[in-house]
């Protein structure tokens, strides 16, 4: 009897996985503040993050075959109630976000000791968990207004996390302030867009929105809504001319925060853009095709070159990686603007692979900063000899960033080139290859600084603590693993792309 009872409990818990995905980290944040014990807080944060990672794996396993889980919050049926909707696309992003946060937390434990005063550690973890909650919530929800709410939860906690870098460099405060202004303008634009969609359709459920827009066709309100949503999300994604907050925020935030943000925040924003472009609005609308081809595509290519050029001339490793991120976002947007299944697959794969690549590299920077006190090239020169493990992982990350065969970065760039050739846009394929050559230059500079220059006189840095090395090596090895075993990511990404392109037809 008791056995039957437990299985039934497990069954219901299993059914509630979508809401638990968001609820577990959400509850952990106030718990951390209330308990307040410094030793316990880390364990709570890590447990919550690990649990949500396991949930993300379970969810992805359920939807990888193209099925959809629809969860009704509080039993209120959509479109009136809020719905959580898991398909291959967002399950994949959920996996990335919760996985990275589970790896960043052990790393953060050592890293923030030297960067944030001990009395603020509990608040750091609370803000971190809120940020995780927000990002997971944005990804999983099927309700357009809910996206805005979770977006603001993650943004507000992000501003706090960035400002915590002020104990090392006071410019973190102005960086956080700038991001607050830009982020709020972006989120408000997004909510104006949602308001217009509501005016035009009278609903906020994404699947319902898609149906009604498809039925009534595009009118001026819908077009204006699309413009507002693209610009609003563009600010969050850091699409090239809207990227100004990103380099400063990434440079001055605490190392662990930079790792987390670079690997997840912009990726989640790209996912939202994907969701709105393909599931809510129909890609068959001319205004959307025009926006993607004549606005997003040129800016994506501009980002690939301009940001890479700026990255070449940086002398600070961390800032260089921040500019490289802007360039990489260009590649992801390029995949979207192709409007084909292969292009979308490329974007989703790119999103995942770049997430793990950048996380590896930023973790490497954090370790170098921990030992040498700065990430300027002349501070870290020659550290390849004194810190072989850290530097080796940076090399793997760097190769993956360039897209050398055998690394995850190669797969994403290869799929992207394949997609452009399939569409017949071979000049764009050439541009992709050319801009990758720029990546060779800026990554090579780092290798040169780390290995070919003599270590600074009088310094003999110890290798990093294991709690930082292990997460970094897990990521570095997964860069290689996903470069060789391409089935896993490509299958999931293709399922995601098909789900997205199916639009509203796939949603009901």
């Amino acid at each position: 009897m008791a056995v039957v009872e437990t299985t039934r409990v497990a069954m219901t818990l299993y059914d509630h996985l979508p809401v638990l995905q968001v609820l577990v980290p959400l509850v952990s944040a106030p718990l951390i503040v209330l308990i307040g014990s410094r030793r316990l807080t880390w364990s709570i944060a890590f447990t919550a993050s690990a649990v949500s990672f396991v949930i993300a794996i379970l969810l992805l396993m359920q939807v990888i075959d193209g099925s959809i889980i629809s969860y009704q919050i509080g039993g209120w049926a959509p479109p009136l109630g809020i719905e959580y909707r898991v398909d291959a696309a967002n399950a994949f992003v959920l996996l990335l976000v919760s996985g990275i946060s589970t790896l960043v937390l052990p790393y953060a434990r050592e890293s923030i000791k030297s960067e944030i005063p001990a009395r603020h550690h509990t608040l750091f973890y609370a803000a971190f968990m809120l940020c995780l909650t927000g990002l997971l919530g944005v990804t999983i929800t099927g309700d357009a207004f809910n996206v805005f709410v979770f977006l603001e939860i993650s943004s507000l906690s992000t501003y706090v996390l960035i400002a915590m870098g002020s104990y090392r460099d006071k410019r973190a405060l102005t960086a956080a302030y700038d991001y607050l202004i830009m982020g709020t303008i972006g989120a408000t634009f997004f909510v104006i867009g949602l308001g217009m969609l509501y005016m035009a359709t009278g609903t906020l459920n994404m699947a319902d929105l898609a149906d009604r827009i498809a039925d009534q066709g595009a009118n001026r309100t819908v077009r204006a809504a699309f413009a507002f949503i693209v610009v609003g999300m563009g600010l969050k994604i850091a699409i090239y001319p809207l990227h100004l907050w990103l380099p400063r925020a990434y440079t001055f935030a605490p190392s662990a925060v930079t790792v987390f943000l670079a690997a997840t925040a912009t990726k989640v924003a790209i996912y939202v853009l994907l969701r709105f472009t393909f599931s809510v609005f129909q890609p068959k609308f001319m205004f959307e095709v025009n926006t993607l081809e004549f606005i997003i595509l040129p800016f994506a290519i501009l980002a690939m070159f301009a940001a890479s050029f700026i990255a070449i001339f940086q002398t600070d490793f961390k800032r260089m990686l921040a500019y490289s991120s802007i360039a990489q976002i260009g590649y992801m947007l390029l995949g979207i603007s192709l409007l084909t299944e292969t292009g979308l697959t490329a974007t989703v794969v790119y999103l995942f692979n770049h997430g793990i690549t950048k996380a590896t590299l930023f973790m490497g920077v954090g370790i170098l900063v921990l030992r040498s006190g700065g990430s300027f090239y002349n501070r870290i020169q020659g550290m390849g000899k004194t810190m072989p493990w850290t530097s080796a992982a940076i090399v793997i990350g760097g190769l993956s960033l360039i897209g050398v065969p055998g690394t995850a970065g190669f797969i994403s760039k290869w799929t992207l080139v394949e997609a452009t050739i399939e569409k017949g846009w071979w000049p764009v394929s050439i541009l992709i290859v050319l801009s990758s050559l720029l990546a060779v230059i800026y990554v090579w500079r780092v290798f040169e600084v780390l290995y070919l220059k003599a270590p600074l006189a009088g310094t003999n840095y110890k290798e990093a603590p294991l709690t930082m090395l292990i997460p970094m090596w897990i990521l570095a090895l997964s860069c290689i693993y996903f470069g060789l075993a391409t089935d896993v990511t490509l299958t999931a990404a293709r399922a995601a792309a098909q789900g997205l392109l199916a639009g509203s037809a796939g949603m009901f």
Binding site: F145, F148, V149, E152, L156, Y159, V160, A163, S166, K170, R171, L173, T174, A176, Y177, L180, I181, T184, I185, A187, T188, V191, I192, G195, Y198, M199, L204, F313, T315, D316, F376, Y377, N378, R379
Partner: protein, 145 residues
């Protein structure tokens, strides 16, 4: 005829006109003002304009407050305004307040560290920091940092 159309165009869309004016006012303040507190004020005006956009769209001509009578016997002839945008905006107001609070808290910290909340003065201080960094790191990098 033409005049009537314009009148209809202006008066009939009064809430949208006011929304646009308020929104642009707020956005202009955010961009044009150098004082960090004034920027937050501009941001508030900008957000408030969106509240107005939502709330005014919930209004239905001749509609009354969306409160059902106690006995729940709803008269089908009574028109109710749409309460949903109002509920949404309650959430957005909370978000706006949190953003303002966080922005002001950041300004307090900026004042503590930089001793000013004027953007141009902060930029000057930051430029000095970059110059100092260049002096340390630039020489060994061939003069550019």
């Amino acid at each position: 005829m033409g005049f009537e159309l314009t009148q209809e165009y202006i008066l009939g869309h009064m809430n949208y006109w006011l929304f646009s004016v308020l929104m642009m006012t707020g956005l202009y303040i955010v961009v044009a003002k150098g004082n960090l507190v004034k920027k937050i004020v501009g941001l508030n005006i900008f957000q408030t304009s969106v509240f107005m956009l939502y709330i005014s769209t919930g209004k239905i001509t001749g509609g009354t407050a969306p409160i059902f009578p106690l006995d729940m016997e709803v008269d089908p002839n009574v028109i109710y305004s749409n309460p949903l945008p109002h509920v949404l905006i309650l959430t957005a107001i909370v978000v706006g307040i949190s953003t303002t609070a966080l922005g002001l808290a950041l300004i307090v910290r900026i004042q503590e560290e930089f001793n000013t909340i004027e953007e141009d003065e902060i930029l000057e201080i930051e430029r000095a920091i970059v110059l100092a960094e260049n002096a340390i790191h630039g020489d060994s990098m061939g003069g550019r940092a």
